[in-house]
């Protein structure tokens, strides 16, 4: 028995996603509330910057004496120029707040003020029902629909109607194929090989881009894009795997949510495309771990035939020697074009 990683490409599944703030904040969504992907479900506010004032040094006092000279305490809101401490004598020195803020620490002759505000708004990312509220942190949302996991995302979230420009799984998207009629939509294509296309998509603007692969040199521009980008298969010139291609293109003109989360192998966060679908009964949730077995549909992670789908016809006992000379546990697989291959198990992931 060998554990198999699972890559979800599912026509219908129950999808449950936890959406949590990185810091404590306020949860805005309510239990059982119906949310759309761009709804703000929680928000957090934190200080943009801090001001550290060494009052003792500025007034030339001992820390204890400086504490006695303080005119503020923790929690006080101060206007810019407010006196924080003043010394003694005929011409006493004063220490003033350089800008508006709130005292967060005071003692030992020192004062720390937080100033400015940074606000984070956490969006639902998917449409669905809030099935759990986690106080001060976020919510758990459940929906039903098609799920296509990607391998790379640029960290953005949006929703739009899918427009298919991928006549084939490896169709190259160029700037001249984008026109004003596509404004606000999610474009599906095979590959992008130039920064101009990403820029043109930004200028329309698009609501999202689903690609099979992208040149690694374009990653900085893709990270900067204001719209979500999800890569289904990887980097370079990979075509979209046939399962993702069929599912995405057959749902063209439907609304899809691109939750282009940055892939985090430790938390399990993965970029994904969710196509909400109406259901009468709740479908089964995806399975995250299985053992390799004959009959499974798998995706090849490495050459030869990287990105292709195949089905396992047999699991080889012991170790198998590959053209590279390497010996590893292996499976016999049959590609969709009928070709038979021997593949190391670690180069396979189960699609399902």
């Amino acid at each position: 028995m060998t554990l198999a990683p699972v890559h979800h490409i599912l026509p219908l599944a129950s999808i449950v996603r936890e959406r949590l703030l990185p810091v404590k904040g306020k949860v805005l969504a309510r239990l059982n509330q119906r949310v759309s992907p761009t709804d703000i479900v929680a928000e957090a506010v934190w200080a943009r910057e801090h001001v550290f004032l060494d009052v003792a040094r500025l007034l030339n006092l001992s820390p204890d004496a400086a504490d006695k000279a303080l005119r503020c305490k923790v929690g006080d809101k101060l206007a810019a120029g407010a006196v924080i401490a003043s010394g003694r004598g005929l011409l006493p020195k004063t220490v003033k707040a350089p800008r508006e803020g709130r005292v967060v620490a005071a003692g030992g002759g020192q004062v720390l003020i937080e100033s400015g505000e940074s606000r984070m708004e956490l969006r639902a990312g998917i449409s669905g029902n809030v099935v759990q509220v986690i106080p001060e942190r976020g919510v758990v949302i459940q929906t039903a629909g098609a799920l296509i996991q990607g391998v790379w995302g640029n960290g953005r979230v949006d929703t739009g109607v899918m427009v298919n420009l991928a006549e084939k799984p490896d169709t190259l998207l160029t700037a001249d194929r984008l026109d004003a009629s596509m404004r606000g939509s999610v474009i599906v294509a095979g590959q992008v090989k130039d920064a101009e296309t990403l820029q043109a998509a930004s200028e329309l603007p698009l609501r999202g881009l689903i690609l099979a692969s992208l040149y690694p040199s374009l990653l900085p521009a893709a990270r900067e894009a204001r719209y979500p980008i999800v890569l289904t298969d990887g980097f370079g010139s990979l075509a979209m795997n046939s399962a993702a291609y069929r599912l995405i293109t057959s749902n063209a003109k439907r609304e899809a949510t691109l939750n282009a989360e940055v892939f985090d192998r430790y938390s399990g966060a993965r970029p994904e495309v969710i196509i909400p679908l109406p259901v009468t009964t709740e479908p089964a949730p995806p399975t995250d771990a299985v053992d390799f077995a004959p009959g499974q549909t798998v995706r090849l992670r490495r050459p030869p035939a990287a990105g292709s789908l195949a089905s396992i016809t047999a699991l080889r006992p012991g170790l198998t020697t590959f053209p590279s000379g390497l010996r590893a546990p292996a499976a016999e697989v049959k590609l969709e074009n009928g070709e038979q291959l021997l593949v190391p198990l670690v180069n396979l992931e189960v699609v399902g």
């Binding site: 801090h50 967060v104 370079g236 399990g268 490495r302 050459p303 190391p344």
Partner: protein
């Protein structure tokens, strides 16, 4: 070894790597400890498992099927101690390198003194230094606080001040760390190691005690301005690393329970093993060298008479960090090692695609050629980085080269899993470019970290396991330092076997020669350098040395040091193919 010294306890050792978890069983056979078998399984630090103990149980289950010995009970718990029916083991140890590199901030007084020691200390574990603060820093304390709030480091290492020396300046450096810790929520606070002026320990405790995830103290890394002692602090940092991992990764606590606290960072365990080997091999010229390259990091451990060095370089790991490699090198510099004609675009795609699937392996010849070129360059860069911290007394024969090392022990997935011994050896010679005469051992079963961890539990075990030949002897390697025209004679070699026969070779510059000497055999090797070539006795000086055989026999590497490859890509690839052929590792 007297039998009475063997405690007779079986020991199970598990290494949890970034890609794979390996379980290794050691037990007493005919009165001595032996490496019996190993089993492996994918590591499970990542989603969906998020529990390293799951991969450990799977690896042990695999080991059970190899050995037929029951080690886990029906609830998949380790059976310990061993039972009368032969199931279970008496002792368990574990090493760990899985998980992202620890986000680290270093704090010191002077950038070229204590901060440099802090950097070297951080490099003894799986850490990525994101930021450094020193007295020469132009940022105000509040800017440093905001930097810490933004970075949210896992670890802060604070150094500075000779013992009994500066204290006020260090107090000043502590303030931003303490205030940032105060502002961060408890689960985001960093673990802090204070390795500075010991006089300040109490003050550090009162300032930082309540605002850090954990606070560790170690003896000063710079007890005086001109003295550096990293080892006690490295030991404390290893303990801190495990504390951070315990919070980050589920299942580490299970391993600690099973092992009675005998869990170590893998790199630290490699360093410990090298110190131990240094005692065994001590007295020979130069130092001893251990290299290990895997998905998490490249590790270079070197032992010298006066001190040991340990460098852990996640930036040169072959897993999820692979794209980071391009911050340190170019695609062209990686491809110069390839025996096949591969475009820079294909290589770039490889680096990014492999980072998505760190545990995947090369199945095709082209993929293997790329993987080995990347490994060569990553290990080469790691070696060049580690070299900076070697003691000055470890003099190389020429500036810029390595000092003499004997023996060299190499391990890690990328080296140990190479399809043939010749490929492993050539990869190692290309990447680290040793000089003079040395013996090379390949740790094919990645025992180094596990033996290092086992040493604390059973000091006899590593000695007997190594003496039993658990490391694969590759044989003797003679690396010629010479500047000569390609094809000109630089060395005459005569290998006198114990049965009275001999083998001779006239070695030309740019070539590799292999003289057969089987494992277990010994012979006398007489070397006569030509045209000022240096094989470790000084320019032009020859001599006779005893050599032991191995899988590769005696390998004479006369390609020069540093190894300069031809600029012409066609000629370069032909040469690489020729060298591969010579060491019996042709890639076709």
């Amino acid at each position: 070894m007297p039998v009475s010294l063997v405690q007779g306890d079986s020991l199970l050792a598990v290494d949890i790597g970034g890609a794979n978890t390996r379980a290794v069983l050691f037990d007493v056979v005919e009165g001595e400890y032996r490496f019996l078998a190993s089993g492996s399984a994918p590591s499970t630090a990542e989603a969906p498992f998020k529990d390293v103990s799951e991969g450990v149980r799977n690896a042990i289950a695999n080991l059970q099927s190899v050995t037929g010995r029951t080690l886990l009970d029906a609830d998949r718990k380790l059976i310990t101690p061993s039972q009368v029916d032969g199931s279970g083991v008496d002792a368990f140890v574990s090493t760990l390198s899985a998980g992202p590199a620890l986000k680290t901030v270093i704090v010191g007084l002077l950038s070229d003194v204590s901060l440099e020691s802090a950097r070297r200390l951080a490099e003894t574990t799986y850490a990525r230094v994101l930021e450094s603060f020193s007295l020469t820093d132009h940022r105000k304390p509040d800017q440093q606080i905001d930097t810490l709030m933004r970075l949210r480091p896992d670890v802060v290492i604070i150094t500075g001040g000779a013992d009994g020396g500066a204290s006020r300046s260090i107090q000043k450096m502590l303030e931003p760390v303490g205030l940032a810790g105060y502002l961060l929520t408890p689960e985001k606070r960093p673990a802090v190691l204070f390795a500075g002026n010991q006089k300040l320990d109490d003050e550090v405790k009162s300032l930082l005690g309540g605002v850090t995830a954990e606070l560790h103290f170690s003896p000063n890394v710079r007890p005086s301005l001109d003295t550096e002692d990293l080892e006690p602090a490295a030991r404390e940092l290893a303990s801190l690393y495990l504390g951070v991992r315990r919070r980050q990764l589920k299942g580490v606590d299970v391993l600690e329970t099973w092992s009675g606290g005998h869990v170590l960072p893998a790199a630290y365990a490699v360093g410990r093993m090298l110190r131990f080997l240094g005692q065994v091999y001590g007295g020979r010229r130069g130092g001893i060298l251990g290299v290990d390259i895997g998905a998490s990091a490249a590790v270079i451990a070197a032992g010298f008479k006066e001190r040991n060095t340990l460098g852990v370089y996640p930036q040169f790991g072959l897993g999820e960090n692979l794209p980071v490699l391009l911050q340190y090198t170019t695609l062209e510099d990686i491809l110069r090692w390839s025996s096949l004609d591969i475009s820079t675009g294909v290589l770039r795609d490889y680096l990014f695609q492999k980072s998505l699937y760190p545990s995947s392996v090369p199945a095709s010849k082209e993929d293997q050629a790329i993987a080995q070129a990347v490994t060569r360059q990553a290990l080469y860069l790691a070696m060049q980085t580690a070299k900076r911290d070697f003691p000055r007394s470890a003099r190389p024969p020429k500036p810029g080269l390595l000092p003499y090392f004997e023996p060299i022990i190499a391990g890690g997935g990328a080296l140990g899993d190479a399809p043939s011994p010749g490929q492993s050896l050539l990869l190692l010679l290309d990447a680290i470019q040793p000089v003079g005469a040395t013996a090379v051992f390949m740790d094919r079963n990645n025992l180094m970290p596990l033996l290092g961890a086992a040493a604390a539990r059973n000091s006899i075990l590593p000695v007997q396991v190594i003496e039993s030949g658990a490391f694969q002897s590759m044989g003797a390697v003679i690396s010629v330092v010479a500047s000569a025209a390609f094809g000109s004679l630089v060395l005459r070699a005569r290998l006198a076997y114990s049965n009275g026969t001999e083998a001779r070779a006239d070695v030309k510059f740019g070539n590799i020669e292999v003289l057969p000497l089987a494992l277990g055999q010994s012979a006398k090797l007489t070397l006569q350098p030509q045209h000022g070539a240096d094989i470790g006795f000084g320019p032009g000086r020859g001599g006779t040395i005893p050599v032991s055989g191995g899988t590769m026999g005696v390998v004479i590497d006369a390609r020069g040091r540093p190894l300069i490859l031809p600029d012409d890509p066609v000629r370069r690839r032909e040469l690489i193919k020729k060298w591969l052929w010579t060491v019996g590792a042709t890639q076709g």
